[in-house]
Each structure stands twice: as C-alpha cells, then as structure tokens.
C-alpha cells in the first residue's frame, strides 16, 4: 500500500475502484486477474472499510466494525487464494440468551444436544425445530445459487435477461403451488410472525429473531424481516451451512488477504486518496478527481460506496438521469445499530452460567422475549437509542488467541437499535454516554464482575461509523435487506446489474445484489459484468452447485 507522494499529477489506469472495502478489493482483484491495470483509491489511511482490525488500546485488536465471518463465499476465498494470503477463518461454537429469571437458553452445534437444550424450555419447540430447520433450509437453497450471479431484470426483454429470469424462476416453480406460496409468505412475513408459527417459548423465539433485525431499521414484527433471518443462515464455514466463524486476527485479516491477492495480480491500492468527483465526459466516465486535486484517468470507474454517496456526493447531477437522483435519495440506508468494543482484564462471569461455559464462545444476548425486541425498536422509531437494547455480544479472544494479551479478553458488542440522529439532532456527548450506559447496564445486570474488568471501551454511534467508514447512517448492509431492495430491486430497479447510469461506471458495494454481510459476492459479480462489457475473458468463478 503506497501513500502516493503529493503533487497534482494525472495517473492513467484501465479501471479505478473507489473504496478499499472488501467488495472494492474483491472487484479490483478480479479485474487485475483479467490483466487490467487497476487502482483502488481509499480515503482512509488504512484499507478494509468495515472489515478492519484496529489496535485502539495497546495490546488489543478490535474488529471494530464487522466482527464475524461466515458469509464470505468459499468459491471466492479459494479462487483468490485468500488462505495463502493469510486468511484463516475459525468457527466458533456456543451462543446464549440470558433470561431475566436467571435461566438461559443455549446454542449447540450438535443436533441432539440442541434438542435437549430446547426441550428444557419446551419439548414441543425442540421437536418443531427440526421442521423449522428444514423449512428455512428450503429457502436458503433457493437463494444460495444466486449469490454469485447477477440478478435478472424482469422488465427487460433481452435474451440474456429472459434466460436468467427463467433460470431464476425454475426452482421456485419446482416447489409446487403450496411450496411457492410458502416461499412468498416467508419473503414477506415478519420474523416474529414466522417464528410464532413454529415455537411457543419466548426465549427461543427471541434468540432466533435477533438475526432478523440485525442491521435493519425494522422490528421483529415488521413484515420482510423473516428474509433477513435467512441472510444469516446462508453462510458456510467449511461446508457447515449456517455456522459462523472469526477471521483469525480480526476482520482486518479479510481485507489484508484480499489486498495481497489483488497485489499479486498486479493491482495497486492507494490510501489517503479522497475521491471528490467521478468525471464524466460525453456520457462516459473518464476518471476521478481527488480532494487534493490529483486526477486518475480510467475508462472504467467502480464505486464501492453506497448509492447515496456515489450518486449524490461524488457525481454531478447533470451527469445523471433525474429519476436516478430521486431513487438514490429514496434508497433506504437507515442507521439502526451502534457498537461497543471493549478491552477486558479477564473473562467475565455470567450469572447462572458455568465459568468458561462453552456457550460463551458464541453470540450472547440478553433479550429474552419478542416483546422486548419490539419495544427496543419503538425507541428507534421515536428517534432515540433503545433503553433496553438487543445486544449481539461476542468475546472472540476465547477462540482467537491473537487479539489480546494472554488471559485478557476483547469483547465486541453490536447494539440494536441506535438511530443516526437523536430526535432529528446530532448525537451529543451526553447522548453517547447514555447509549453506552444502556449497553453496559444490560450486560452488568447479568455479569457482576463485568464493570470491573473494563480497561477500555470504544463506543461507536451510527454517526461515527458513517463519519469514519463512510457507510451512510452507519448501516452495516449499505442498504436494508428488505424485498423492495433485494435482487432486481437492489439498489434500485433498473440498476441491479452493477452498471451505473453512465458508460463505464459501475457499483460493486453491498448495496448491490446479494447485499451485505462480508460475502464479497457483490464485488465479484460486478467484476464479471465489467469484464463482459470490456469483452475480456471472465475471471470470476461461479457458485458451487447445490446438491
């Protein structure tokens, strides 16, 4: 990574990628692999976007944005030789939701053990879980083959689109009339309503429902959230579908491996390069201009930024169709979550749980009912942070020995909900303190020694995530994962195939299909389309066939 020396000069490349997030890096890697001269321009002095590892307290490494790695497509990791470039993804077990009555509901990988744990709360639920798993898997199998494909355009009559559409529709039609109806219901239902169809135990439903609202400005009873749930079941770590893992060394390891892969193909990464403008001449991009006046010329410009930033901030209105500006404005990227990263002097204990219980290896939550989750959303709607938030808390240092000194620990706490503005105004230091307190209090209520173990705490509001990482409103998915913004609607209808409104301009971020979650699929899919337009041989692998 070279910080280019100052001095206004013009640089010529085949393709420029704006933003060194994991999708930008992936996109650039595939363009470079095809022989293009590629440069990735990154505003920050470090790469990774939201896949970063940062030492913000001496001796501790924080994955201070994204914090788990599961959806990263194995096809891409293998093809870009990420393991050779230093990426190791380690699955973690466990997971627990603490109840207010001192009991808890735990998560186990072993099917029969999970049954027994569920049966402690409800035998019927424990048995229904088998049906639930099969039903969710049906939905996952529908969508997974399309992760490494561009979405079809249902409004187009082009042969390729019709073929794509037929290919897309075939598995849906193969489900039969009732199966298809169930699928449509699943895609339009709320996660709360969906879980209510299977389970009776509140804590079991609450434990599972969290995945339906993470990063989403909707409540557990908002239609459309059942699909978000799916987004969290699509991952694989070593073929173990639905399981989750840590990138050893923190999420920065993903960006680091991608950058090495890119560089191995001859691509360049230029940090401290703040793109101010995508330059358009005669309906085609010609390059980008930086804040410092430098220019980079290229016939292809790919934006890893979300559509609001891309179209509203770094493109000229006069270069864009008016309806696109409206669409970019209306695209929903709502900030709904914040984060705490905490350095701990030791492993905290939790009331009711064995010290060093394997359940602590996984995601820990304290919301034990759907009602509490829904009420947390009500606070967000009212323009404030949740007074009783939903936390997705992990202590990765129980699995990854590299992120804190021996015997010490690092805790990452994802907090839902937190709005980008407080009642329409900016976050004040008091607001931030109040937000932090609501989180710490909730944890401390179940962990008597937690407070005393805190050595350092980084609290990130949506506004701060936006300011630093450049995710609008701090939205982790670069845009909500609801059906109106999925597939051929992502980011908006008519622009779902990665091509922008002017020639040579592309989008490759999580705001494009198939969305966020550190999959790297948007970046790869965009590269495939770019290479196609350039009449270059495709370098992007297709997805593994589902069995």
């Amino acid at each position: 990574m070279s910080g280019e020396a100052a001095g206004k000069h013009v640089n010529k490349y085949d393709a420029i990628v704006i933003g060194a997030g994991h999708n930008g890096l992936t996109n650039a890697a595939y363009l470079a692999k095809a022989g293009l001269r590629v440069a990735v321009l990154e505003r920050n002095p470090y790469i990774g976007g939201a896949t970063v590892s940062r030492e913000l307290h001496p001796g501790w490494t924080y994955s201070n944005c994204s914090y788990v790695c599961s959806l990263l497509r194995p096809e891409l990791a293998r093809d870009l030789e990420l393991p050779r470039h230093g990426l190791q993804v380690v699955p973690y077990g466990g997971g627990v939701t603490f109840k207010r009555d001192g009991n808890y509901y735990g998560n186990y990988y072993d099917h029969n053990r999970q049954y027994r744990e569920m049966a402690r709360h409800s035998k019927r639920d424990a048995n229904a879980y088998e049906r639930y798993t099969a039903d969710v898997m049906k939905q996952t199998r529908l969508i997974r083959p399309f992760l490494l494909k561009r979405p079809p355009d249902p409004t187009s009559l082009k042969l390729r689109d019709l073929r794509d559409l037929a290919e897309f529709a075939a598995p849906f039609l193969a489900m039969g009339e009732e199966g298809l109806a169930d699928t449509l219901r699943f895609w339009t239902k709320s996660v709360g309503d969906y879980l209510d169809e299977y389970f009776e135990s509140d804590v079991i439903k609450a434990h599972m429902a969290g995945s339906g609202i993470i990063g989403t400005a909707l409540g557990v009873y908002s239609p459309g959230t059942a699909y978000v749930l799916l987004h969290h079941y699509m991952g694989d770590v070593d073929g173990n579908v639905g399981s989750w893992g840590f990138a050893r060394g923190g999420m920065g390891a993903v960006a680091s491996a991608l950058s090495k892969s890119l560089q191995a193909f001859g691509g360049e990464i230029i940090c401290d390069a703040d793109v101010r403008q995508i330059v358009v001449r005669g309906g085609r991009v010609t390059g980008v201009a930086l804040a410092n006046g430098d220019e980079y010329r290229a016939d292809v410009v790919v934006s890893n930024l979300d559509p609001k930033r891309t179209f509203l901030d770094i493109m000229d209105r006069s270069d864009l169709p008016p309806e696109l500006v409206t669409r970019a404005r209306n695209f929903k990227i709502r900030g709904s979550s914040g984060k705490l990263n905490i350095a701990l002097d030791g492993l905290p204990t939790f009331t009711g749980l064995d010290k060093q219980s394997p359940l602590m290896l996984g995601d820990m939550h304290f919301s034990d009912s759907l009602e509490r989750l829904e009420r947390a959303y009500d606070d967000w709607k009212a323009g404030t942070w949740s007074k009783d938030p939903y936390l997705d808390m992990l202590i990765p240092t129980q699995t990854d020995p590299t992120m804190a000194p021996p015997g010490k620990h690092m805790m990452t706490v994802f907090v839902q909900y937190a709005p980008p503005k407080i009642q329409g105004g900016d976050w004040t230091p008091e607001d931030k303190a109040g937000f932090e307190k609501s989180v710490i209090d909730q944890i401390a209520a179940h962990s008597p020694d937690f407070r005393d173990l805190i050595l350092h705490c980084e609290t990130r509001t949506p506004a701060e995530i936006e300011a630093e990482v450049g995710l609008t409103e701090g939205n982790i998915f670069q845009g909500e994962l609801t059906f109106d913004q999925l597939l051929f609607n992502r980011p908006f209808p008519g622009y779902a195939q990665y091509r922008g409104p002017v020639g040579g301009m592309y989008l490759c971020g999580s705001a494009t299909h198939p969305g966020g979650g550190v999959m790297a699929a948007p970046g790869a899919n965009a590269a495939r389309e770019i290479l196609r337009d350039l009449h270059k041989p495709n370098t992007v692998p297709g997805g593994y066939a589902d069995d």
Partner: protein
C-alpha cells in the same frame, strides 16, 4: 334422494348475498342461513339508544363494485344514497383543517408544492390501483398448477404491468412492499396530509405507518376510486339498508334466506361436504356448501379441526387475525360544535390523525395489548344526511377508532368506561362541547365485534391484509380459488381473495368459480 337445495350458504353477509344472487341467477337453488335476525352481516344498522340508529359495523360505502350494484339492481331494491362522494377532512386542533377529495387536497397549511405533488401522486397510484383491480376482479391465479384460466389471468396482469412502462413497473415493485411512512416522507411535506393518507392505508389493520405493506393497504383502500366512488358514501337508513337491498335482490333472483338460524356444523361424508346442521337439530343436505364466515370460524367452529387434515388445521390456525379496530357510537342531543367546520363540512368524513408519528405511537400500544391513549379516528355523522337515524334535533356520531386490542391486559370490563371517556375527551379536543351533547354512548371492542358479527378476533378483513396473506396465499396455501380441502365446501367471504371491505368481489368471484367448476349443477 334428491336434495332440496343445490347450495347451502352459511352467513348472509354482503359477500354471501352477492354470491347467492349470482348462483341463483344461474339457476341454482340456494338457501342462505343467517344467525342474525337481519341479513347483511357487517352491512347492518342498529338502534343503540332509543331513537338513535347507526351503522353497526362498516360505516362508509366506498368500495362496492359497480357491476354488483348493477347486476343486483340494488338501486331498484331499496338502496338509496343519502350522500355520495364525500370529502375527507383531517381535523386540526387549531381549526386549520385539511380537505381531500379525489386528486385535490386543500388546506391553509398545505403548500402549493404539496398540492401539485398530491395530484401527481394520485395519478401515479391510480395506475397501480387499476392493475390491482384487474387482479381482484378475478380469482387469484395459481402459479405452478395453473390452468388456461390462470395463465390468461397472469398474462393479463403481466400485460398490465408492462403497460405501466419500465419506470412504473419498477416503481410499483418497490412501493408495493414498503411502508407508507417512507413513501409519504418521499412525497410530501404536510404532516397532516402524510398522516391522512397513512390512516387510509391501515384502517382495520394491525399496522402502523411504518409497517411494511401499508402501501399495499393504501392501494387496496383506493380500489373504490377505480370502481367510480369518488369518496365515501352514506346510505339512507345506514349500512343495514345495503344488507336489506341485497337480500331483496337475492330473494328476487330466487334465493331463499332463513334468518335467525344458527348453523352449528358443516357436515362431511368421507371428506366431501354433504350439508349443514342447525342449532335446532335440523339437518339440511346439499352437494355444495359455501361459507361466508371467516376461515377460522368455518374450519374450527363449523367443520371442526378434527374433521380436516392436520396440515390444513395448522394452516388455518396460523392465519393472523390481530385486530386493533373498535367502533364508538354516540347519541347526541344536537349537533356538536367543531370550530372551523361548517354544518356542511360536518357531514363529510372527519379524521383525527395529526401526524404519522402520532399514528405510529397509537399503534405501539396495541402491540402490547393496551389501547392507544391518543387514538386515530375516522368519524361519520350520518344523521346530517339521513334524519331517520336520530330524533328531532338529535344526531348520531359513529367513529372507527384505532388502536385497541382484542383482549387488553386488564380485561375489557375493567377499562371499558375509562376508555370511552378517553375517546370522548379526544374528540373534545376538536369539538369542545361534545361531552355535553352525549345522550348515550356505545363502544364495540374487537371482542364485541367478534360476538356480534362472528368475525374471528373482530377482524374486519377476516384475516390481516398483508402481503403474506393475499392472492393465492389467501386464505391459506392449499385453499386458494375459493375451493377448500373439503370437496364441495367453498369460501366466499372476506377471508378469501381479494379480502375485506364492502366490495362484494369475494362473493362474486366465488360464485363464478363454483359455476365454472359446475359442482352445483
């Protein structure tokens, strides 16, 4: 043994009467059995205080399909309009009310931009409503096991979608699933306008403006426009007059209607329907039974879950029936004073919904089984158009109110009076003397509506109208196109496609489907 009837129809709601009428006209011998003393179901008028009558359930007529008005010759069967094409006025505490009629919006605080934006918005959404109308006037097409009829329907819909143009088509695909809150924020400045349109999207629903799918609810509401209603109407004699007219028309077509007859069971023989049993013990036989009751009432109470397969029973029991709608009836000794509104204006549709967050907060309460302390209201004073409803100087005020739960945490009996007082206080914010005008008050909670009209959960639409419960998913997968897993048993009520509202399409579509199948022949 030959049966006396070709068809037994359970429930003389408006859809049941419409369905019976079309079947009788096609030569079927139809007997309609109604538990209430009057036919009409939710199209009912009742005297809730001596001399004071009001539409007991639905209070506006704004969606009745024109073909049905014509085919049933309702205007010759006693249906008289007391007032049509009413404006909607959103009340403002400071008296700066907002008026909506067709594609026009007026009000002191509505900017010129908003007026123009509303005109454009109205035109844009009218196109979508027209398409929706196409989908609703026919049975919901099957997508996989489709036959020629289905494919033709799908083709028609596809063509309609194409005709919207690329832009319109993609816009529709986006907005149909999102919430009114976002669409309103995208479209207008006026808080009052945004709230009013939001209210229209969620009347009778268990949703707030932020709930995805509410745009669909709005388009659904607007169907009435495409049927030629330019605003709500009130009938002479209240909504009960519609029930009466429909019954008269059905009888004229040869339908036999027996009121005051409770059907206790729909009977099956080897998986096939064979008749019904009445509370009196009388058993009636027919090869076809049609239920105008909602799917839960039909399958749980009348057929019995034990008489259908487990999977079907599970499907039925999972239909969402959360209601949040109550009805308030006030008998008034004379017309109350709403500052800023003339008597003519008081005869319009009056709405209390100051802003979207207000509605959303009102909705929050019902999620936790509490009633909204600051509710939204849709108010009618029909006696301004129809003097038969109240004595001399008197008037009746009828209001649809959201949100209140089916079963509040503390129980309805504990809080009913307190709640009524709260509602009256809320109206008093806009009509300060209302308290002194009241002679009698009546509150119909969702539980009351369930009791009175046999609607499960008191749900107006016989099941939530959200995307996962419409089209071929309505009433539930496996029972689409009015047929059910019990051979010979059909559904013709709001629980079936296209859903609730006094529209009559469910009844008409069901009749067409039954005739097409020829089962009743």
């Amino acid at each position: 043994m030959t049966d006396r009837y070709d068809v037994l129809l359970v429930g003389a709601g408006h859809n049941g009467l419409v369905c019976a009428h079309y079947l009788a006209r096609a030569g079927r011998r139809v007997l309609v059995l109604e538990v209430r003393d009057e036919p009409g179901g939710c199209a009912a008028t009742r005297e809730f205080a001596p001399g004071y009558s009001v539409s007991a359930c639905a209070q506006w007529l704004n969606q009745l399909h024109p073909d049905i008005i014509q085919d049933l010759a309702l205007e010759n069967s006693g249906l008289e309009w007391a007032a049509r094409d009413l404006e909607t006025i959103s009340l403002d505490r400071e008296g700066q009310h907002l008026t909506l009629l067709g594609d026009r919006v007026e009000g002191e605080r509505v900017s010129r931009e908003d007026r123009e934006a509303y005109r454009v918005f109205h035109a844009r959404t009218s196109k979508y409503v027209k398409l929706l109308r196409k989908a609703f006037e026919a049975r919901a097409p099957k997508l996989v096991e489709s036959n020629v009829t289905d494919r033709l329907n799908l083709l028609k819909l596809g063509l309609g979608l194409k005709l919207l143009g690329r832009e319109g088509m993609s816009d529709l695909m986006r907005v149909i699933l999102i919430n009114m809150y976002d669409l309103m924020e995208e479209s207008f400045d006026s808080a009052q306008l945004k709230a009013l349109l939001s209210l229209d999207s969620l009347l009778g629903a268990h949703m707030g403006p932020r709930t995805p799918n509410t745009v669909f609810g709005y388009l659904y509401r607007r169907l009435g426009d495409s049927f030629g209603h330019h605003g709500p109407a009130v009938l002479k004699g209240g909504m009960g007059a519609l029930g009466k007219a429909m019954a008269a028309s059905a009888r004229a077509a040869g339908v036999e209607i027996r009121t005051g007859e409770r059907v206790t069971s729909i009977d099956l023989e080897a998986g096939r329907v064979c008749g019904v049993t009445l509370a009196s013990g009388e058993q009636l036989r027919a090869p076809v039974v049609i239920s105008n009751a909602d799917p839960v009432t039909t399958f749980e109470k009348l057929v019995g879950y034990r008489n259908i397969e487990t999977g079907v029973a599970r499907r039925v029991s999972q239909i969402r029936f959360n209601s949040g709608t109550v009805k308030l009836h006030l008998a008034l000794d004379r017309l109350p004073d709403f500052p800023g509104l003339s008597e003519q204006q008081l005869g319009q549709r009056l709405v209390i919904a100051p802003d979207m967050d207000y509605i959303e907060s009102a909705f929050n309460a019902v999620k936790y089984r509490e009633y909204s302390t600051a509710p939204v209201m849709d108010i009618s004073i029909p006696s301004l158009h129809d003097r038969s409803l109240a004595p001399e100087e008197g008037h009746v005020l009828s209001a649809i109110i959201q949100f209140a739960p089916y079963a509040p945490n503390e129980g309805w009996e504990a809080c009913r009076e307190r709640y009524i007082e709260q509602l009256i206080a809320c109206i008093a914010d806009y009509a300060p003397d209302i308290g002194q005008r009241i002679v009698a008050a009546e509150l119909l909670t969702p539980a009351d509506l369930e009791n009175d009209f046999g609607m499960t959960g008191g749900h107006w639409h016989h099941g939530e109208l959200s995307m996962d419960q419409v089209l071929m998913m309505r009433p539930f997968p496996g029972a689409t196109q009015y047929a059910t897993p019990c051979d010979g048993l059909y559904l013709c009520g709001a629980g079936a496609h296209p859903g609730g509202g006094v529209m009559g399409l469910a009844g008409r579509n069901a009749a067409r489907e039954i005739l097409r199948r020829g089962d009743a022949a």
